[in-house]
């Protein structure tokens, strides 16, 4: 019994589903953000696994770009969460309805 690329894809699909459930289920902005990070990680796993199967290095380069974009996204996202918290003193997304029409 050897590990095929399908095992990695199935694991990445499971991790992505858990991340999506976290975004839909939790109301804490930080935990929602962490779920998005988990989804990005699972996509990275599919990139690297597919690149490994095809014998191409491009999968790893794509994963590297995703990591860079995720790092930029984390700095901005957490800065926004802190800025919102300073104004509203809450991290609950249900209470952040200030732009509701």
């Amino acid at each position: 019994m050897t590990v095929t690329v399908g095992w990695y894809m199935a694991l990445a699909a499971a991790l992505f589903s858990i991340g999506a459930a976290g975004v839909l289920l939790r109301r804490n902005a930080l935990i929602m953000f962490m779920s998005i990070e988990l989804m990005l990680n699972s996509v990275n796993l599919t990139f690297v696994a597919a690149g490994r199967e095809l014998g191409l290095i491009d999968g790893q380069v794509a994963a590297l770009f995703v990591i860079v974009v995720a790092a930029a996204e984390v700095t901005i996202g957490l800065a926004i969460i802190v800025a919102v918290f300073r104004r509203r003193a809450t991290a609950n997304v249900d209470q952040l309805s200030g732009m509701r029409g």
């Binding site: 590990v3 962490m34 988990l38 796993l45 199967e53 770009f65 901005i76």
Partner: protein, 183 residues
């Protein structure tokens, strides 16, 4: 055989960490669950011969990103637990059904290629060292790489701007419009 055992162990660790992140009441426990999942994914990268990506995963995700997350959690306050009330009826049930259905659809869509697997995976030689990645990154992907430089610069400037233009900042822009504070 050894590869199979390592994969099963660390796939289980990754899933357990992800579940811990999803279900933990305390935000710090959520962060620790995500950290566990990220370390397990780094080990899986090593199994896939992507050694440089594994190192980057540990340094950037497990190191920098999770430190930033924990810093913000401490800044906002760990004891402020957010009330998990359902805004939509049956939100929890609907979410679980959607997530499980999504997973089932992905596995079903890829079953032909995944379950049988391909012999390429066992045969192909892969060199995931920093030299091989750099050859590709600074050759074919040079322009996208330079674009990420601008992206990171913009992100850094934006973070500083967000920190400065707050209510107590030097330039309290737009403070009078948002007087209402929802506690």
């Amino acid at each position: 055989m050894a590869e199979t055992i390592v994969f099963i162990i660390f796939a289980a660790v990754a899933l357990a960490g992800a579940f811990a992140m999803l279900s933990a009441r305390n935000t710090v426990f959520s962060a620790m669950g995500l950290l566990t999942a990220m370390f397990a994914i780094a080990v899986l990268y090593v199994l896939l011969d992507a050694h440089f990506i594994a190192a980057v995963q540990v340094i950037i995700y497990a190191g920098a990103v999770m430190t930033l997350f924990l810093f913000v959690i401490m800044l906002i306050g760990v004891d402020r637990s957010v009330a998990e009330q359902e805004q939509i009826p049956f939100q929890r049930v609907i979410t679980i059904v959607l997530a499980v259905g999504f997973f089932a659809v992905i596995v079903f869509a890829g079953r032909a290629a995944w379950i049988t697997g391909s012999s390429l995976f066992a045969d192909a030689e892969m060199n995931g060292t920093i030299e091989a990645v750099a050859d590709e990154l600074f050759g074919t992907w040079m322009i996208p790489f330079l674009t990420t430089v601008f992206l990171l610069t913009i992100a850094a400037v934006g973070t500083i701007a967000l920190a400065h233009f707050g209510p107590g900042g030097l330039h309290a822009a737009g403070e009078d419009e948002e007087e209402e504070i929802v506690a």
